[in-house]
Symmetry: D3
Subunit: 341 residues, 6 copies
């Protein structure tokens, strides 16, 4: 079995009105839990890899709910701190057709945002592990989490782990300037960088040429250029970029490219009829990590990762609850959706 993967970040309660109801129509919320790095850990656990998620959640039953959610899906939760006052929450309203989905965050002052240097014993947490993953959301939560993140990547490198980071810029959490400053300190410890169509520009000012995001048309050439610039800036071993063409809230095209400093690997492009696109990027990251940990080639890796995240779009909740075998079937070319009996 592969070595253990450790991810570090925030897990939030997610509350969404049922179906396509708007917030103002709701008399109930579906309850799930998710967050960038938790999603990656859960996806890896479905693939059969040992995966630990590290965070802090309050001691009360709402904290229990979050821990149990991950435990149910096979994530190791033994390093989660139980402290602080509240669990972050995000409210999600599903869009449809021309109406976009909406996310309202209520995450300030969450337990994880209040952690202090020294709360996490990274030597112990990372002992025997093979991979560490975080996203740009974690350091954006506050100075405490940012410092914890730095300590984690430093320890990870010291212990010989591979480190991956999804840039994941969130403008509600910090400014571009602050993001660039903090992320620039973390990037030198990162082996594999993952970004979507906006992150590179927002955080590092790297522009994809000839692309108008709202128009839904992406230039593959432009993104190659972005990947190259990113790679050159920090010396990443791999840079992966997900390419979303948003036809509407119901239909997206989804593909990715991977650059290993030498060659560009383009994935197949999937036309996805969307059930739930939250966590799409995270499932891609998990797919890449799984691929590298199980010895796939770069070409296979990007195909596996984009197939995994294609499937994520068809699954309710943040977590990509698909097996590696299911991903392999799609990556192998069977996208017919025929009933499996």
């Amino acid at each position: 079995m592969s070595k253990r993967v450790v991810t570090f970040g925030e897990i939030m309660m997610r509350l969404n009105p049922q179906g396509y109801l708007r917030f103002v129509q709701a008399q109930s919320f579906d309850l799930t839990f998710g967050g960038g790095e938790a999603n990656v850990a859960a996806s890896l656990a479905q693939f059969g890899l040992p995966a630990s998620f590290v965070t802090a959640v309050p001691k009360h039953e709402i904290g229990d709910c979050a821990v149990n959610w991950l435990r149910r899906f096979g994530v190791d939760t033994s390093f989660i701190l139980r402290q602080g006052e509240r669990l972050g929450i995000y409210f999600l309203e599903f869009g449809a057709s021309q109406r976009p989905s909406k996310v309202i965050y209520d995450r300030a002052n969450s337990s994880i945002s209040q952690v202090k240097p020294g709360d996490f014993d990274w030597e112990k947490i990372l002992a025997g592990a093979g991979w560490f993953h975080f996203t740009g959301i974690t350091p954006a939560l506050g100075d405490g989490p940012a410092e914890a993140c730095l300590a984690a990547v430093q320890t990870a490198k010291k212990l010989g782990l591979t480190v991956s980071a999804d840039l994941n810029y969130r403008k509600k959490l910090w400014s571009r300037e602050k993001a660039r400053e903090v992320m620039s300190k973390l990037m030198p410890y990162v082996d594999m960088a993952i970004a979507n169509e906006e992150d590179a520009e927002m955080v590092f000012g790297i522009k994809a040429r000839d692309t108008d995001v709202t128009a839904g048309a992406l230039s593959s050439e432009g993104y190659k250029d972005v990947a190259k610039q990113l790679q050159e800036m920090f010396g990443f071993k791999q840079v992966a970029i997900t390419l979303r063409e948003s036809i509407s809230a119901s239909d997206n095209n989804w593909s990715a490219l991977l650059y290993d400093g030498g060659t560009f690997y383009n994935s197949r492009k999937y036309k996805v009829h969307i059930v739930d696109r939250v966590g799409g990027g995270d499932s891609f990251g998990a797919g890449l990590i799984y691929s590298y940990l199980t010895g796939k080639s770069p070409d296979q890796a990007v195909q596996f990762a984009v197939a995994a995240s294609c499937l994520k779009h068809t699954i309710f909740g943040d977590l990509n609850l698909v097996s590696a075998a299911e991903v392999e079937t799609l990556a192998g070319g069977d996208a017919s959706g025929r009933v499996q009996r």
Copy 2:
């Protein structure tokens, strides 16, 4: 803030089996409330305009439910009469793909259908208001409502309000002959007429050339001709026509044209993946009224109105629960449906 808009008509209880269940499969009904003019008032209230809905509903708790529903969404309900025996009901079954949606009406003998001349004090109701709106459904409910409607438009004109009417022909409620007779008396008081692809022919015998409705293909030229004929017949200041191309119960194309007696303004055409198309025309009417009350140009008006009603197709229930800002975003060209965080 804009002057108050007053709409007058019937609000019904709407009962639909959940999801795509057929009537005969139901063991529960989703409960909402709606009706042409109530939908217009509610949409305007979401846009931030003061809007009053005038009707009659019974004194008991089922009547309370209808009033509360509107109140929740910001509609002024202080002129609603509490009298009569029952609230009209309509049963709705959602279609999908080649299976059409079905509506079964159970609205006979509703409180509003039993109103008598003099039940409504239009001088008081319309005092200080700027706009009056009704649809062809109201006078079709009976002689009492028809007379009340006539009194309303006469008072409205006397007090200087703008009057709009959505022709909205309903064959289950009255014959084409009766409709033409009654509507012809009301039209002289109307400034803005709204019609869909069938109304003009059904009520006034005006034909759109080269159009086969069941084939789902509409001729834009034909509709210009219809608009022109309508305008000439009653001297409307504006005639708006919504153009629905029904690909299937799940997918429609939706656009509109506006004629101001001089120029034709064509809206963008939206390909809509449908959540709930009931109230589509009403949301268009509300969009037009909002546009004129807030000083938009005819071109902006038809674009705003059709964008508003495009969004309506993505929202469960009769009411178009979208803000003016959301409509502006779509009318401004962003139809990508990307997540709003």
Copy 3:
């Protein structure tokens, strides 16, 4: 009124997580009942024909549930045996887009699989009936059901009924060799054979040329050849083949061809946006039986049957809860899905 149709087979409890939830996300299951021959009987009952379903279910309340389900939808259940230990179950997870639907069977040792020769009094059951229908699933359930099936078709022919069979090969239930052996004994009594794109090859080794099922592209010519081979092998009066092109779990193209030993009749092809495709083949069979019992021509029959099964794809559950009039509307060319008020 037409003569009574009798179908014979298994009815199972069907349990599916709500909406697009995966099995591992479920905290509740939607509960319905279905099975090939039960579905055919129920569909015929909606069309207004007298239809009896013959099976065995346990005496307890779970058996009652299955009987009541059919009774609710107008199926004659008076010949159902109440014996044995359990009702077969199947678990269904709805797929979406590139993620396929999944079926997990838990049907071993069901009451119907344990029936013995002589349990059914076919002379009585078939007295006065006009048509007998079964699928390849029934004889696959065990030697008892297979013998009962043989007794049924022999009695049916003796009494002058028309016999139809849907090949419906299920690899989880028996081997291809066993299927061929048993089915070859039953086919001589069959007048009308129905098959999908895989059955003919699986059971009788008949190959459709130039067709790659997973690629979703079917050759109409190839299927004509299959139909011809089938007809020649057993002397069927009619051979019908349904043609499914699986674009994704959400979108399929659906059509059929009918061969009467002389002429090939091709149906219209429908692009279906899927609500629930289980029972698609059964609804086609019911459409054919209805067509022949009500005197339609072969061309009308295949058009009616494929329109019926097109509608089935839009209806939750195994049963095709549509009226003959609704099918006629679609078969007559109105696929616009416009609201029926």
Copy 4:
């Protein structure tokens, strides 16, 4: 098997907010169907007796729903007329503790209320049957139903059926004077009369001495006197009176007495923790009819009937979905509610 029982009356759609929600809180309704005589027929069908329910419901799908509901639970629906405009509706809000349940009727102009003399062919409907049952609600629906009811009981007596009537006075449907006039014409054909604590007084002015209904305390002696007066007035073979002591909306005491013109038979008294008390009286009537048709003694009959209706209070919906064996267990003295495995 016993001879067929025929009941005649109205079946309504019942809509209730979920759980203990008030009407004004509802965003969905549970959907069931019921009505006095339909409830009796359904209860008898659960007991294993052949039972036909006669009514009129509209041709559309809402009418189908009502028919299917009864069919599902084994009631013969073949004599139901499909005509008229609407199905009656009643809205039900469940009370709890000191808050009473509320019923709002919306039943005017239902199909059954509009029937005309001659619509029902009673000779055919009652041929071969052994028992006819109606309640005081049916003749209260209008002159048409009242005349149909008279024709039914006259035919029933002519054909030798036993006739039972539940007085069931509904003040919303008719005045006490009108009720007395019409019911007095029907009673001479009735063998068995059933009444609750208010009916005898409301319809025939017969008073139970020493009883204050709202105080929840009933005098058994008083009711014996009522039964005796009723018997003497119309010469009934049996008079049964149900005795409800309403402790609260959640807890009732429930018992009955039966008078056969000679002896009074008192049932056990049950303390019931209520799930749904609608249809309590109807389930008692069905218990009596079953008892007499299966040859029970008067003492056994009243014990069976009151045990049956005790169980009804624990079952959601109007219909008493319990088997005769379940009733026998309770009537036999086992009220412990221990889990049946």
Copy 5:
């Protein structure tokens, strides 16, 4: 009509697992909104009095939800400020029998807790009003709300309004010392004080003799003494004390006493089988306010108020959705819970 009542405080989102599920079992939450003073305003609105609720909620859709909730139930929301970052939340788990209900608060940093002196224009808000009400929760939210509360009561007294306060001590929000300090400044402006069995002791150190709260047995004499001490301490015109005997989470006894400085008025005691006891005290307060505003005697007032709050225990959600007529029926002695048709 009575003069307007103004209440001031926090409204929170309330999230509870369905039925009796524990937090850790939830996959959805019922969504409602409530808070002490909002509950009072909503209850008064159901009684037909004009009632304004004053608070601050964020500008986004979650804030809209709270406003709409109140608007739906007839509360005037025109003075609600739209500012700040978040809406307070509380999680509620329903207890049953020996298992207590649980509340987890997540209300820190809510919009209302962040208000500043001057945010509210009390002269305008209270103009023309007759009554002002707050609870001890409002000043506990922070210095800003406490100052706003002081400004409100000062203005209220200046304008001649009656002022009522429910002590409502919440130990999670502030210490007993801080509570005493702040509340002591507010009490001089208060005419009517309401307290439950713990408040007087917690805030002002006043002890009820001979009472063990956890034992569920309360001494009426002891509470008279408490009321007297409270009255003497601040010169209240009325002191009302609610008396809850907690038999279990499912069953409580509920009564109250009122002291007007001269006489003690004891209410009837109700045995309540509980649906939802949150808001019980608030509904009592609303009952008192209504009683005094409509001219009831002290004896009638306490009977009305305790009957109102008895009914609240049977209603889901914080809001007491009962009419004055319903309360009068219960207060008048009819607690039988018989179905109202």
Copy 6:
């Protein structure tokens, strides 16, 4: 922390109609998982003890669901075998008042019933553990499970674990004779025996004097005698007997006695208003095991255990999702059910 507890048995899918619906009313099932020994493990995990559950479930997603369910609630599932064909199922209908709950088992041929000697490596499974628990259900599942059970208790004793057994006789699974034969071989390895009011008689023919189970009245003296006889028969260190008085399906009295070969310890008796009584006995067993592992006295142990199982009756599902602290509160005497804020 305490040593690990290992339990061994069957986990089943549990399907129940919602609320108090009968089986024949269901259109959906609530989905949970449970079984005697799984319930004990889950309860111990909530108390904070390490607990492993050992069983076999099929490899497919339905098996995953069962494993995930336990994992979610903190049970160690690493020793669960993934083999065999199906997961056992039980259908549960909730009773109310006089209507008993019903259980229909569909557990034949489950994975666990098909295990073979040697499938479980008990030396490994029990290494380092402190306690082994099973119930009489496990050996009743078949010879394979019975042999595995024997191997387990033999290994447990060899490794020095304490062994507890809940007699739990299930007449649907085996005869009394077979039960006595098999159980008599297992009992010599058992330290602590747990039984309810029927088990001792059914399995070992030991009678409680003066007790009529259906009458709901239990003689405490009689049970002491049973405990004594049981102890003498097999030399148990402790014998615990749960005493259920079934007032109705809604209300039970619940207590227990513990006999340690010397002294009898009687617990408090709780009047429980029932939410879900399935798993009541298992939660008692878990309470006892926890008590002994954490060093409670016999008196404390029986009080803790019966308080724990009292709380179980208020919780939906088989699992007793309460913390040790919650149990201590109740065992300590606070049964008031007051809201915990």
